[in-house]
Symmetry: C2
Subunit: 320 residues, 2 copies
């Protein structure tokens, strides 16, 4: 019996609140990629939408609740994708959105947050510093703070991906999920553990940002002093205890991958699917590249979670 914070009925209800533009995303087999990887690979594509990541599934839910409550402003810390998504969902509903991000976040992400009309505040330091600043803005202004992965709506929004995977009824046996704060992993995992209990849920994190993976293995919060990865979207240092608790119940494994594998994964996705993806979205392919025997002959789903990447960075990493 699962005892995560997530609720299947609420997740089902979320589908009626989230703008359909973010739902029922493509799920399709990519033979060319599968041949290269020695297994069957299906792609769940979360980037063909106005914010180019899965995050709006959660912010649609959050923003809808806020407007129901008569709120008019909201603040979040973001590595870049949550801020865009909240900017989009807030703009649509007339909410004032403030996003706090690290000055070192990708320019492409910061520019797109501004373009959505959100107020963007930059902090020196990393995502965890942005989180602290967002907390103090929320207190000062008396406005709602959205905390990615901690706020159950961010997890339950992402969990609608799990419903779509379960509904698809295809024969996949393994889902590879990028692991950062844990909203997507606990969201998708909570649904699949109920509706498709035989499917293995494997989380993938960069070796350079291993806090949540280490925490999962040690079954207690393990923090790190720094991160060192191009996968900016998943580079946290302080796992949230409530999220870890959920993750312990729904993940079958959590693995770490090297930067070179992430880049190789991005290159393979470019070549075999024509998709330019951000590093976090290549973590699943990276995991297969590092342990092909483990996945040989399996049918994997890898969630392409975001494509917000600056082309200069992308070309520097991916060019042969």
């Amino acid at each position: 019996m699962l005892a995560t914070r997530l609720d299947l009925d609420r997740i089902r209800a979320a589908r009626r609140v989230i703008d359909p533009i973010f739902l029922n995303t493509p799920l399709y087999q990519c033979d060319a990629l599968g041949r290269q990887l020695g297994c069957t690979v299906s792609i769940k594509l979360e980037t063909a939408n106005p914010v180019r990541s899965f995050k709006a599934r959660g912010t649609e839910l959050v923003a809808s609740l806020l407007t129901d409550q008569g709120r008019s402003a909201v603040v979040c810390a973001s590595a870049g994708n949550l801020g865009q998504a909240l900017g989009w969902s807030g703009r649509r509903r007339g909410l004032d959105v403030t996003v706090v991000a690290s000055r070192s976040a990708p320019t492409a992400k910061l520019d797109r947050i501004r373009a959505l009309g959100a107020e963007l505040e930059l902090v020196d330091g990393d995502f965890e510093m942005a989180r602290e600043r967002a907390v103090s803005i929320a207190h000062q202004r008396g406005i709602r703070l959205v905390e990615d992965s901690l706020d159950v709506e961010t997890c339950e929004g992402a969990a609608t991906i799990g419903l779509e995977l379960a509904d698809a009824g295809s024969a996949f046996d393994t889902v590879l999920i990028a692991l950062g704060g844990g909203a997507m992993a606990t969201g998708v995992g909570s649904v699949l553990k109920i509706l498709s209990p035989d499917v293995k849920m494997i989380c993938v994190q960069p070796l350079g940002a291993p806090a949540m993976t280490r925490s999962w293995h040690e079954r207690r919060v393990v923090t790190t002093d720094s991160t060192d990865t191009i996968a900016d979207g998943v580079a946290g240092r302080y796992p949230i205890p409530e999220v870890l608790n959920d993750l312990l119940q729904v993940a079958d494994d959590a693995v770490l991958v090297q930067e070179a594998s992430i880049v190789a994964g991005m290159r393979m996705l470019l070549e075999h699917t024509g998709l330019v993806v951000e590093p976090s979205a290549a973590l699943g392919v990276a995991a297969v590249l590092e342990d092909p025997d483990r996945f040989a002959g399996r049918h994997l789903v890898t969630i392409i979670c975001g494509s917000n990447v600056g082309l200069d960075d992308y070309h520097r990493w991916v060019r042969p």
Copy 2:
């Protein structure tokens, strides 16, 4: 009163035959692209599927009819995308598929046709030569010849894109459509002229392969001696009279664009949507780039019809 060869009821019924993996494709607004182009731009994405183009909507229909008729083999000429799509649809139904293509078709397309298990025969010369050879194979072997754009199923399959655009009920006023043989243009146009008659249907073809566009303007078949364009997917020389007749009823305009604009369009799609597209899929953006005043302030839909492009070619064209 429209008098095309296409039938709205058959098009609606086609949705029950086509594998859902090819249906209900993403339709979403891309603000960053719109800002660059001075208008509102929505993308209809036809590449997030196993064959990376819209063509399987038609081949699903064709292959389903053939199996209903107890046929076991089929042949087509292809610039590359139809062959992949027929290969996919035929493999799924146990049909023997033969594809005839030009030796100069993109290697990426030819490799993917072979990978799908189709028999691939290459001819010297261009697509029109492949068409002749496919006709003679069909006669020799007594098997069904699939003729893109002439066979109404290829048009009615593509027309399901039009149903999805009409169903979306969004506020777009113009659809930009890559024009080659005319299956997609007559398909989508036939539906929109009935269900969304105020929407303008503008066909776009390369200046280097202008036969159908010239034919549309002159209201009679105009052939050309050669083609010279990187947009291999739309490079025919002999417009089909029946298709021209349909196109005359459903297109509001047909324009020609330069190669440099196609490349600029591919680059903009890469930068602002993260999509690697084949040249044909950039024709819509190219049309806006060449005549921005005409489209200023409008809400366009551009159909991203294919992404089968070799990365070497792509980088040679698109790299800054």
